[in-house]
Symmetry: C2
Subunit: 151 residues, 2 copies
DNA sequence: GTACAACTTGAAGTTAACTTTAAGTCAAGG
DNA sequence: CCTTGACTTAAAGTTAACTTCAAGTTGTAC
């Protein structure tokens, strides 16, 4: 019993605008079959995909990153727990780093920044994982930012 | 003894491109005095401001938010520990929420998403702080996203 | 069978946060 | 003084992630 959803039903349930759903389809993040007249019809499991996209977008991951992650899921059959776990492994590192950076910023607001060390090289905030060491004076920042941050 | 820095010195030490520094000045995030010939000269404390901007940008805060936060600092005199603490109070809430969301996403990748509950309303990931309750079926997302996420 | 909302497409518009370009001006060494 | 690299501005270009628009088509309720 495959109950198909229209684009406005999916929009309501996922929280995304219909225009965003069409965009995501063009970008290959979600799929939809078509009615005889050519209108989009979504299978229910696309809602889970969209909830995942929303959560990932919310924390700042780009659509490119999300598409890459979703490509680890099987096409055709319904994703299993093991399939989602693959995505977990592919992101855990970055999420851990991002959480550490946020905690540093939060705690730094009471400590590190207050103490004035922000301009120093060894500060936890500007160099939270002691990855970058010898690069001249001044603040040195996180390698591989999770958020796009061109410089 | 006020040692003033040129734009390329500040660029090297802060990690920002010179074009970004000029942009930040137009946007009112940093200030610079001028040489007799009209070139920018930065005071050293601008480096701390820039380190703060970099850390905040890295975790996804917008320049508008950062400018608002920096406006809590005094103009003219050097910011004290108490001044930075004001910024801490203004952001703590959002940073806590963001950290919670990231942890939910990270942990959800091993648990919540794997179990398939992502499409359910009461899921921690789609509703991490039980703030939004009665809004129809389907996934409901975080109020006031930290990252810009138009919908 | 006829309204009318919901849907379709392609193309153009939007916003943030910069970067690039063009055409010139400043600063410092020799 | 002259050269050369660093600097200036204003304006236009860039990218991601969408939204809006225009013009037409579909689905359904009466």
């Amino acid at each position: 019993m495959e109950q198909l959803l229209t684009i406005s039903e999916v929009a309501d349930r996922s929280g995304f605008a219909a225009s965003a759903l069409r965009y995501y389809e063009r970008e290959g993040l979600v799929q939809a079959t078509r009615s005889p007249g050519g209108q989009r019809r979504y299978e229910r499991h696309e809602l889970r995909r969209l909830a995942f996209i929303a959560a990932a977008r919310h924390v700042g991951l780009t659509l490119d990153e999300i598409r890459d992650a979703l490509s680890l899921l099987p096409t055709g059959r319904n994703p299993t727990k093991a399939d989602w776990a693959k995505i977990s492994r592919s992101w855990r590192h970055r999420l851990d780093a991002e959480i550490a950076a946020l905690e540093s910023l939060r705690d730094g607001l009471d400590g590190c920044i207050g103490c004035g060390c922000l301009s120093l090289q060894r500060c936890r905030l500007s160099n939270p994982r002691d990855v970058v060491a010898p690069r001249g004076p001044g603040a040195v920042f996180l390698p591989e930012p999770l958020h796009p941050h061109p410089e």
